[in-house]
Amino acid sequence: MNDKIYRVILFIAALIVPIVCGGVIYALVTDAYDAFEYFGFFKFLSSSEWNYSEGAEQYGALPFITGTLMTTLLALIFCIPFSLPVALFVGEYFKGKRVAAILSTVVDLLAGIPSIIYGLWGFYTLRPLIMALNISPQGSGILTASLVLAIMIIPYASSLSAEFIKMVPNDLKEGAYSLGATRAEVVQKVVFPVAGAGIFSSYVLAIGRALGETMTVTMLIGNTNNIPDSITSTGNSMASIIANQFGEADGLRLSSLIAIGLILFLITAGINMVGKIMIKRARIV
């Protein structure tokens, strides 16, 4: 096999990626087109109606966009108090030690658990707990979904943050120690400022994960199609409405669901792109 054939084969193999991506966008756009055309693009985004009774069909994405943003934001808030300590534990306080390796393995395994099993656990363990604590009568809802989602994104946020924390040069830290700083002060004044951009970007990527998470949210969010009015109320995320209704939908409803898929795709693609660019920048610094 000569060099030319080899190059051509590799090139063809590489072409598959743009083809698939182009296909994803093409399929989403063409099949979402009906819904956008019928309701109008901005109307579709801003309408909170989701009615599929025949003759009175009316679809809007707002409840699900709200649901997705609420669950994601809450998950992020719940995740930080745990993922940041994990990152500091692994990347700074016990850097290179056995305990750090064990903890990071354990946290990585969290990322390996299939989302449907998280959903089961949330449904059979967390939901009764939330009912027992009288937080919400039905147990499922935005809050329940966010709590489980938070656990799911801890590994994504913490492992990348830990990488950046590990990269903080020793001489900077030694400089601060030599001036009499305590370890906590070194973390606060040296580690965070230096690794900050990287840590931030790892949370951006964790958000990207949370946005599209499907099964867990579907099993825990309560599946109602209105805009959630508090964190304990039920709702639907963009991914969960698709998971719930795609199988039975056709016509305009199917197109509307695909339109929601397109919006979700664009949001996650945007967030992931921002995260990747930030990581590249943070690596250079």
Binding site: L10, F11, T214, M219, A239
Partner: protein, 284 residues
Amino acid sequence: MIKKRLAKDKIIFWSICILAILTAVPLLAILGEVFFRGYDQLTWSFFTEPTPTAYKAMKAIEAGEPIPGGIANGIIGTILMLGMAAVVAIPMGILCGAFLAENSKNRFAQTVSYLTDLLQGTPSVIIGIITYVWVVVPMKGYSAIAGSVALCIMMMPLIIRSTEETLKILPASLKEAGLALGGNRARVMMKVQLPAAFGGIFTGVLLAISRVIGETAPLMFTALGCSLIRWSIDKPMSAVPLLIWEFFNDPNLQDLIWGASLFLLLFVLVLNITAKYIAKKWNQ
């Protein structure tokens, strides 16, 4: 003053330790719950018999007997669909990864690299939608083929990335030494670079499999599910995560949830730990 600072330092240290270790609790809680609720369901027939119909299950419940049947249809479906996906995704992923590693400065390769990230970050439910549009609609029906296409699309970016990254960290001298002996690029890749990168690529493949084996959403609109043991790939087919979803939704079949989950969880964890172990060995 100094005392106060040292006290603060201690408090921060201990809160970090406690919070970090608390993070391990969910893993243990989930493992524990799935294990204790599921282990007594893992009998021989659980692996050899297909899912019972809702009627049969109801009868058994009324009679106070354990639900008959198991998840054999799901296991076979998972193996079949994953196998078909892997047969395409592994060679394509490795070739594409090799392309990216060989041409890292080329504009087209940078675009491909960016698009690989895009694909990897795409929510699985969207992969389900587009496979439905591409495969299920033209074929006029749900099928195992559609399911494996969805899994293949999800596996590929992971394999591309691990191949690319492993090839890139190989010392450049290895490739140069191969070429210096007069080998062409293809032979140097096949005989020197890929064998040297085998550990990293294999780890990537295992992780890719463990990532997609538990995927439910993309299979819901593609393979659909089926309660029979089936080998025809143009018909709907079940998979273990799809069965868990079915059991979750069917009040009569709830007793099968935990056995199926335990099986899936053990499988995924073993794959993950093996992958980590190989990666560690290979790095030495």
